[in-house]
């Protein structure tokens, strides 16, 4: 049972649904999950946005006004039959409704109950909005991308929401494993803030144990942590990415000194000067020219593609990453499938997101018939 809205909680529910769980969104009558009405580029699938379908496909919807005692009772009878409850209300809301863990556990001892908060329950930020850009800004993440002189550069994906959803699904699955063995449920807590911090664990661990500050490159930054040449470089006709590599090998591949008067051991301390020399040299030839040389020296590098360029690659088509969502109206939309293969099988599902309250009656019936 999913009492979550927007992206973090619902993306977690989506993964569980794709792994075979029956996921029921509990939504407010007349309104529902606000992302039903949030569209990207004004793309609508039906009365719901395509975005909503992307995140909530393969689920059911049960409409209940949690402030109405009758609806609340039905939700509680449903909880008695459920395995997992997830919610992302701000601290205090579920307590007021009488749906907090302590109360719910009395209804269903084996319940696995996960709370997602923005910033945890303590501390002055506990009531701040748990929104991705704000989390990126407050957790230091905005100082990891872009170049040093750019000021903070946020990542252009709701990466904290996504990562939190992924971590939430992991811990629910871990608790299911334990429940199977011991019969006990679990009370699980995670926050967007903790996810944002743990996403930066490599950088933060390095930062905690060094004396200086963490600084991005002034040119072609790829990671504040890494030395030359790590980053993306312009060529005569496009861009190529250079990952970690031995600078000696890179010089051999390029066929020219690229150390700018420095030595290999300066890859960290003088990375910007060395990167500048590499950047100047790479500008002189095409991406294909460089890729030939780099790959023949087994250096970790690739061309930089946009979605159109990726889309035309055989490697992309071979993945069969797309699947059709089939709406009741007959309309179809393409979206991506779950990234996990179990026993060599990809999991496809053509079930779109539910209309608000689409499954209320059938679930009530199932409850009455003791069929859940």
């Amino acid at each position: 049972m999913e009492f979550c809205q927007y992206l973090a909680g619902p993306s977690m529910g989506l993964r569980l649904a794709d792994l075979g769980a029956r996921v029921i969104k509990i939504e407010k009558p007349g309104a529902g999950d606000p992302s039903r009405r949030m569209s990207i580029k004004n793309l609508w699938a039906d009365e719901n946005s395509l975005l909503f379908h992307t995140i909530n496909r393969n689920k059911e919807s049960f409409a209940a006004d949690l402030k109405n005692p009758e609806d609340l009772e039905t939700v509680k009878s449903l909880i008695k039959k459920a395995d997992v409850v997830t919610h992302s209300f701000r601290p205090g809301v579920m307590e007021k409704l009488g749906l907090d863990y302590t109360t719910v556990r009395r209804l269903n001892e084996k319940i696995i109950y996960l709370e997602i908060s923005g910033y945890g329950k303590k501390g002055p930020w506990r009531n701040k909005p748990g929104q991705d850009l704000l989390l990126q800004s407050l957790s230091g993440l905005a100082y990891t991308s872009g170049n040093h002189q750019d000021g903070p550069v946020p990542i252009g994906i709701s990466v904290v929401d996504v990562f939190c959803g992924v971590q939430g699904a992991q811990v629910i699955l871990g608790a299911l494993v334990r429940r199977q063995k011991t019969g006990i449920g679990a009370f699980l807590e995670i926050s967007l803030f903790e996810s944002a911090i743990s996403m930066q664990f490599e950088l933060l661990t390095t930062f905690y144990n060094q004396t200086g500050a963490m600084k991005r490159s002034s040119i072609n930054n790829g990671s504040p942590l890494l030395g030359a040449p790590y980053g993306i470089y312009k060529t005569a006709d496009g861009f190529i990415a250079l990952a970690m590599m031995d600078l000696n090998m890179l010089q051999t591949a390029i066929g020219k000194s690229i150390l700018n008067g420095y030595e290999i051991k300066d890859a960290f301390s003088h990375r910007d000067e060395i990167k500048k020399a590499i950047a100047d040299e790479l500008l002189t030839q095409s991406s294909d020219y460089w890729m030939d040389r780099l790959l023949s020296h087994h250096l970790w590098s690739s061309k930089v593609l946009n979605w159109q360029e990726m889309y035309s690659q055989k490697a992309y088509t071979d993945l069969q990453m797309e699947q059709w969502l089939k709406l009741k109206s007959g309309k179809q939309f393409l979206t991506t499938r779950s990234p996990i293969r179990l026993n060599q099988q990809v999991h496809n599902s053509h079930i779109p997101a539910p209309g608000l309250g689409d499954h209320t009656d059938i679930i009530k019936q199932d409850l009455l018939m003791q069929d859940l």
Partner: protein, 384 residues
């Protein structure tokens, strides 16, 4: 009781993707045994990864491999291979992130291991899946960001492709693997059957971009467009972004532009009354907003905007973050100690289970540190 009490993981993986899955399982209580090559071990111990070296290993290695054990074995030596087979016989999970074909050549294919341990769960991470074309390419985070279009999402319109500064594809692939493994463990508890779990960094990178890609797949393959200024998300309209103030920066998420203009006392913003323009004319709006925000400090703006209900915040670097009470209250830092007594401050697992943090002060293992212990515990030396 820990979530994964008594679960044994034999982990052949290196660098970040596979080992980050191992770390999650370890923090949930599993016994994670790294299988490492003599002399070098996991290449993440030394190779190019950070210039902060702690007790001879990189800071990153310590962060990724705390709370695990190290078993040194030469996978080309038949005595060592035999021992690893015996270990796997008693294990629940095997993880690897070699390129397709390598485990098979070494004699550790799922087929062989299944005959040793029928209920084994066999998890693997590849760079690009098993499709012929790209399967031999190196599966590395920056390269995966680059080939999947992810570098076209961050930064401004005129910037060159801008990678995300954290190795998020590695971490997501690791997390997706852990999800699949945990789901299969759950299933195994009912069916007693194991199986394979496969993820690739390629698929994980696409999954990360599922919102934007779904849009691309249905709107005639239009590419995402970054803002000309204060870019924060190619698909979100003004004011969404980070802006300079009189003394620092401020982040403002989705907001009603007219209302924002009123509260900020900025008439230029109040002209944009048609909310469909907030996306299509976002650069003009952002330009006006950027100029207006320069007139007050971050704190002054937050004092005006937060009480009015706007989603906004300051923008912190690590030094500033560490001083914040909310960060300190989170107790996200944890000190681990390796067997040489070297202490490393790192971050803990993000979860609380039954009200308790998942803490562990066990540092990353020295190479081969647990050979003797594991030989004894799993009786690997006995003749069979």
């Amino acid at each position: 009781m820990k979530l994964l009490e008594d679960i044994v993981v034999v982990d052949f993986s290196q660098f970040l993707s596979g080992p980050s899955a191992g770390l999650t399982l370890a923090d949930m209580g599993a016994n994670v045994i790294k299988i490492e090559k003599p002399e070098t071990g996991d290449i993440c111990r030394h190779l190019y990864v950070s210039d902060v070296i702690l007790d001879e290993d990189s800071s990153i290695f310590h962060a990724i491999n705390r709370n695990k054990k190290s078993y040194m074995a030469d996978l080309k030596n038949r005595f060592d291979i035999k021992k690893i087979y015996k270990l796997i016989e008693k294990a629940d999970i095997v993880i690897h992130n070699f390129r397709p074909g390598v485990m098979e050549r070494l004699g550790f294919s799922y087929h062989i291991l299944k005959s040793i341990n029928p209920s084994l769960i066999y998890g693997s991470i590849s760079g690009y899946g098993e499709g012929e074309v790209w399967k031999h390419l190196p599966g590395q985070d920056l390269l995966l960001q680059s080939v999947t279009g992810a570098t076209a999402l961050t930064g401004n319109k005129e910037d060159q492709p801008t990678p995300m500064g954290v190795a998020i594809i590695d971490m997501l692939a690791g997390a997706h693997l852990a999800q699949g493994i945990l789901a299969m463990l759950y299933q195994r508890s009912m069916t007693e059957e194991g199986g394979t779990v496969q993820v690739s960094m390629f698929e994980s990178a696409l999954d990360l971009q599922f919102e934007g890609l779904t849009c691309f797949l249905n709107d005639g393959h239009e590419l995402p467009r970054r803002s000309a200024i204060n870019g924060a998300h190619p698909y979100v309209g003004a004011p969404y972004g980070i802006y300079k103030t009189a003394d620092d920066y401020i982040a403002i998420a989705m907001a009603d532009i007219v209302h924002l203009g009123k509260v900020m006392n900025c008439s230029a913003l109040q002209r944009f009354t048609d909310n469909s323009e907030w996306y299509f004319r976002r650069d003009e709006i952002k330009q006006e907003l950027a100029m207006a925000l320069l007139h007050k400090t971050t704190r002054e703006w937050l004092e005006i905007l937060e009480p009015a209900g706007f989603w906004c915040s300051g923008v912190l670097n690590y030094q500033q973050l560490r001083k914040e009470e909310s960060y300190q209250e989170l107790e996200m830092e944890m000190v681990v100690k390796n067997s040489n007594g070297i202490e490393v401050t790192t971050t803990r697992s993000p979860y609380r289970v039954d009200g308790e943090l998942l803490l562990s002060n066990i540092g990353a293992p020295l190479l081969g540190e647990h050979n003797k212990e594991i030989d004894e515990q799993f009786d690997l030396n006995a003749e069979k």
